[in-house]
């Protein structure tokens, strides 16, 4: 299973984010103590802190690595209403092996706390998306990848709802797409996950979907690595964990000209409420086959799909480093029974195919789920 290795993080306040770099050999942590620490994996398998510096004058919410092709670059965003881009000075280090990081730019457009910052997938060049508590998503671009100090604000998208998290669709084939989650607490305010897409013709970002099944405040949202799939998987952390698949519908030539933006076949692939508490964070593995979720119950749960595309919990980890045996093993068995029964009845999806569509009705392009009816039908 897993071997836990405790790290003396030594941040003076809560750590809000942990991010591995592209190769998984460096890690950055950011904290409310306004510092970011960078950890490097040594040959001996130990993580050592190679940099620790004050980045903002407020809590640092998120930290994220750029693709290494652009250098050793991270971006941070903070309560102090700014996002910043930092670059490591290669070759320079002090006597204790500490690396120097310099601020390349500070993005100061937001008038409220910047809640998330994410680099675009590499094929889109050096782009950065930020979202802020006042509900504005901003897309920045560094036109010259060699000059990290010049970022121009390309787009401002108003989401109407206070934004908490953002995720780029990593697909190379699909148009640039981002999903935005809102932590707006009012469940009657409609769907809390919005999907925006860049349109080449109009050169604008426009909303293509709102995932209306998720009405509770969303704390984290993650697209799974695409890896050549024909559909996109989106993990959503709210009161529970949900996995939504978005399959782009083939558009006809005629409609391409008129409407311009893609339509999706939305399915809720899975929904887990085992956390029984607020779920805060999600993370996909590199192949997009295992989803880790973590919530207020102090546990990390790993979810994986079996060959029938039924997602199951494969492991539970305690935050203090201990593994928890699957207490719900009986439950799992039960699930498996219903699962196998379902397979025999032919209601479950056949192997190798995307799960059956849920009961989605489509009215003028917006999909909604008949949650009540669909609950417990396809998830197990």
């Amino acid at each position: 299973m897993f071997v836990a290795r405790s790290i003396p993080a030594d941040h003076k306040d809560l750590i809000h984010d942990v991010a591995f770099d592209f190769h998984g050999r460096r890690m950055a942590t950011c904290s409310s103590d306004q510092n970011v620490k960078v950890w490097d994996l040594g040959e001996d398998g130990h993580w050592t802190c190679t940099a620790n510096w004050k980045t903002h004058s407020g809590s640092v919410w998120k930290v994220t690595w750029a693709h290494p092709e652009f250098g050793q670059v991270i971006a941070t965003c903070s309560f102090d209403r700014t996002a910043a881009v930092w670059e490591e000075l290669v070759g320079e280090s002090t006597e204790h092996g500490q690396k120097n990081w310099v601020k390349r730019t500070s993005l100061v457009d937001s008038r409220t706390s910047v809640t998330d910052v994410q680099f675009a997938p590499k094929h889109l060049g050096l782009q950065l998306a930020t979202c802020s508590a006042d509900g504005i998503v901003r897309i920045y671009e560094a036109p010259d990848v060699m000059n990290l100090s010049q970022w121009s604000l390309q787009h401002e998208i108003s989401c109407k709802l206070s934004c908490s998290c953002i995720s780029w669709n990593p697909s190379r084939v699909h148009q640039p797409m981002i999903a935005v989650g809102s932590d707006d607490a009012n469940p009657s305010g409609g769907g809390k996950v919005q999907i925006y897409e860049y349109n080449d013709n109009s050169r604008k970002w426009s909303k293509v979907e709102t995932i209306t099944v998720v009405t509770e405040s969303v704390k984290d949202i993650q697209f799974a690595p695409n890896l050549g799939r024909s559909y996109h998987l989106l993990g959503i952390a709210s009161k529970d964990v949900r996995i939504i698949s978005l399959k782009p519908l083939r558009r006809d030539q005629s409609s391409t000209q008129t409407s311009g933006h893609s339509k999706f076949d939305l399915r809720q692939v899975a929904q887990f409420d085992e956390h029984n508490a607020q779920v805060w964070r999600l993370s996909w593995n590199v192949t997009g086959t295992v989803l880790a979720s973590s919530g207020d119950d102090g546990c990390v749960r790993l979810w994986k799909a079996n060959y029938l595309d039924n997602w199951k919990c494969i492991s539970v980890l305690k935050g203090d480093g201990s593994n928890v045996k699957l207490q719900e093993s009986s439950q799992v068995q039960q699930q498996q029974q219903t699962l196998s029964g379902g397979a025999m009845n032919g209601t479950s999806s056949p192997p190798g195919q995307a799960p059956l569509p849920l009961n989605i009705k489509r009215n003028s392009g917006w999909a909604y789920f008949n949650t009540k009816k669909d609950q417990g039908k396809h998830y197990y």
Partner: protein, 774 residues
């Protein structure tokens, strides 16, 4: 509850029992009484015939002893007192025009109703005695402008002043000549200070350096806490009966009133977000749960503590990320762990620093996180199998059968039984197929456009038969040359030259004829198959942008074809009896085909017709590949694609292929398997993918004399008109390997140096260095 006033507010102040509030600004000066659900205006102080600057206020304060006395600081330097008990409409009482510049702060003595202190931009502080109606004494800080003055609530004679240069001074009323203590508190202007209501020795200060600092001043001033805020701090006020809580508002940017717990100085304990512009005044209502604030947005709010936003609650207590190996990086709030434990029966409970009981609104303990890395040692989450597969899979160099066998074994050894089975099936499907005598239809498919191209290149007057003859001769020529080079796939340069010369020669019929005559064995290879290899290779060398560039994958395939020369093909005949009859027979066959179809496709027609297996499984294989891709196992899809190459007759969509390749390549680079990534690129039959490793690698060379880049050639500098790297022996530019002595840095052609140093010890240039050649 709030009220809107017609003009921006500069300052507010409440009376002794906090039942009334005075609101002052440049164009406003009113007194409101605070009712249960509304502010009710009591009087307007800004009345009279000539409303001069004395009616505008930068600061206002209510006498803490006498309920009818107010003082305001005007921007013209006047200090004005107001008597609410005055029967007339105008309540103005005294005007002191003692300061030369703006008065920043006025402050009544906490117990002595008639003592009023002012601090001004002109650098002086004056103590007014309202009974004598004159200045009692003047204090000069002898530093810059005074931004704030406050009487100490605990000590009769003490007051403190904050200065624009960041200094804080402590004064004794009895010693007007010199301050008692002075220290530098801030690195920019200090805007505000506030005495702790309970702790005699604590004082808070704040300024433009965006920090609130708590000082202990009993002996030598000592910094206890620093709160870093996001903007310059305009005002700070301690929260009553909460030792560690202090409220602040900003001068710019931030419109919130924040209440901080100084022990956790990073996140506001509570925030009040009602105001739309900066807040200029905060007054607690003698109650830790209620306070008033006035703002530039022309409103006065009464805030209840229960309405506060708790930024710490919104703050994310967990960080998690998965790295490429499947290791989980996890940062957890310790509180969550404690909470988790207490649920399971432990007596550890979150502790509360107030004895009031578990009032959620008062819980604000220090928070910290612990970080854990979960190293994945589990097959279900780890990706060792991916690396193993990537490194151990063989993608080329053998027959499809062998490759499938090998890869099946690899997958099997890693417990990827489904993948292993897939390889075995593929072996059955395609391996068996290649074992049967099958002219390389794959080759002809790709090659035929090349042939067509060649046709065009040649003289159009030559009739098709002759043309084909010419081809065949060419083929033969080339084949004789390339035979010896078959093993050396990389050596294409000779092929190029051959090709060029052949192309030239083929332009004239006589040459062709003579070629035919010259070769005693006029055997030829049917279908121009060898040619099809040569053309794309050379074309690829010359211009990789040609849209029909054949991937280098074709090279390994060449071996297979060579192996199959013994198949019942023209070749067999050729080896047996190189007769002219055969030649004409086959050339006519080729000719016939050419008549039937366009020259582009004629050559693939025959093999296709005869070799199609009866069962059409290609689309199934396609589906299978897509299945693996959908499952996130793009490795299998790409590996199969590479090995099958063009054997798949219903090829996977171009875009999809590219997507898979790109995804696989990204994964490989994530695992830092650069070598394998490069191999995959090399073997890819997809145009965009195959050209990947021909991009973005540029080696710039600079002249070794003028250090300017060499633009035209690597050995001639356009600028200084000099050869850059000449051989010390023959004095000609070295275009290949340049060998030089590490000691004197002279060198030249490797051969020349070797020869020279066989016989000499010293450097050929005569520099005197004894060079070593090993």
């Amino acid at each position: 509850m709030h009220t809107v006033i017609e003009a921006p507010i500069n300052a507010i102040s409440t009376n002794k029992d906090a039942s009334q509030v005075v609101v002052a600004g440049r164009n406003v000066f009113r007194v409101f009484s605070i009712e249960d659900d509304a502010f009710v205006e009591r009087c307007n102080l800004r009345v009279g015939k000539n409303l001069n600057l004395n009616f505008s206020a930068a600061d206002v304060t209510w006498n803490p002893v006498e309920d009818h006395l107010l003082a305001s600081a005007a921007t013209n330097g006047a200090v004005v007192t107001w008597n609410l008990n005055k029967p007339s409409r105008s309540k103005q009482e005294l005007v002191f025009n003692e300061h030369k510049r703006t008065v920043n702060r006025v402050c009544f003595h906490s117990t002595e109703a008639n003592l009023l202190l002012s601090g001004s931009q002109d650098g002086f502080m004056k103590l007014f005695d309202l009974r004598k109606k004159e200045v009692n004494c003047t204090f000069s800080g002898q530093s810059e402008s005074v931004r704030d003055v406050q009487f100490c609530p605990h000590h009769y004679f003490q007051f403190a002043a904050a200065y624009e240069n960041g200094n804080l001074q402590l004064w004794d009323l009895r010693r007007p000549d010199k301050w008692e203590k002075m220290f530098t508190a801030h690195s920019g202007p200090a805007f505000t200070l506030d005495w702790h209501p309970d702790d005699k020795n604590w004082i808070a200060s704040a300024g433009r350096d965006r920090s609130i600092k708590i000082w202990e001043i009993s002996h030598k001033p000592r910094l206890l806490h620093t709160v870093q805020t996001i903007a310059s701090v305009a005002r700070v006020k301690w929260r009553p009966s909460r030792k560690y809580h202090i409220s602040s508002c900003s001068l710019l940017v931030d419109h919130n009133v924040n209440v901080w717990d100084i022990r956790r100085p990073y996140i506001p304990f509570a925030s009040f977000e009602e105001h739309r512009d900066v807040v200029t005044g905060i007054m607690w209502k003698n109650d830790p749960y209620v306070f008033l604030s006035g703002s530039k947005d022309c409103t006065v709010y009464q805030h209840m503590f229960k309405d506060a936003v708790r930024p710490a609650d919104r703050a994310n207590p967990i960080g998690i990320d998965t790295n490429v190996n499947g290791d989980l990086g996890l940062a957890f709030s310790d509180k969550l762990l404690v909470a988790g434990k207490s649920q399971t029966g432990s007596s550890m409970l979150p502790h509360f620093f107030r004895s009031k009981g578990p009032d959620r609104s008062e819980q604000f303990t220090m928070a910290s996180s612990s970080a854990v890395i979960f190293e994945s040692v589990d097959k279900s989450t780890g990706l060792e199998w991916f690396i193993e597969c990537a490194t151990r899979y063989q993608l080329s160099g053998k027959s499809v059968e062998d490759l499938c066998d090998h890869n099946a074994a690899v997958a099997g050894s890693l417990n990827k039984h489904q993948v292993a089975q897939t390889w075995r099936i593929l072996k059955l499907l395609y391996g068996g197929n290649t074992a049967t005598p099958c002219p390389p239809r794959t080759v002809s498919v790709i090659g035929s456009p090349a042939v067509g191209e060649a046709h065009k290149a040649e003289s159009e007057k030559v009739n098709l038969k002759q043309q084909l003859d010419g081809h065949l001769v060419q083929d033969h020529n080339r084949s004789t040359h390339t035979d010896g080079e078959n093993k050396d796939t990389g050596d294409t340069s000779t092929a190029v030259s051959e090709d060029e010369s052949d192309a030239e020669s083929s332009l004239s019929l006589t040459n062709i004829a003579s070629g035919q005559v010259n070769q005693q064995g006029d055997f030829f290879f049917g279908d121009g198959e060898l040619e099809t290899f040569d053309y794309p290779v050379t074309m690829a060398n010359m211009d990789s942008m040609q849209d029909w560039t054949l991937p280098t994958e074709a090279i390994p395939l060449r071996h297979e074809i060579q192996d199959r020369l013994d198949s019942p093909d023209p070749l067999q005949n050729a080896t047996d009896s190189p007769s002219s009859a055969n030649e004409s027979e086959f050339s006519s066959q080729a000719f016939g085909n050419a008549e039937n179809a366009t020259p582009m496709y004629n050559l693939q027609a025959i093999p296709f017709a005869s070799q199609n297996p009866p069962w059409e499984f290609s689309h199934l294989v396609c589906d299978m590949l897509e299945y693996f891709a959908e499952q996130g196992d793009v490795q299998t899809s790409v590996s199969v694609l590479i090995i099958l190459g063009n054997k798949m007759k219903t090829p996977v969509e171009d875009q999809k292929q590219e997507q898979w390749f790109m995804a696989y390549l990204e994964l490989l680079t994530r695992f830092r398997l650069w070598g394998i990534a490069n191999e995959v690129i090399k073997l890819s039959s997809h145009r965009a993918v195959a050209s990947l490793n021909q991009q973005s690698t540029t080696v710039h060379t600079n002249c070794n004399k003028c250090f300017k880049p060499l633009t035209r050639a690597g050995w001639l500098c356009d600028r200084c008109k000099a050869l850059t790297s000449t051989c010390s022996i023959c004095h000609l530019p070295v275009k290949g390997l340049f060998a030089w002595c590490q000691g004197c840095s002279h060198g030249g052609h490797l051969e020349h140096l070797r020869e020279w140093l066989m016989t000499h010890k010293h450097c050929p240039t005569g520099c005197g260095h004894i060079c070593e050649y090993t």
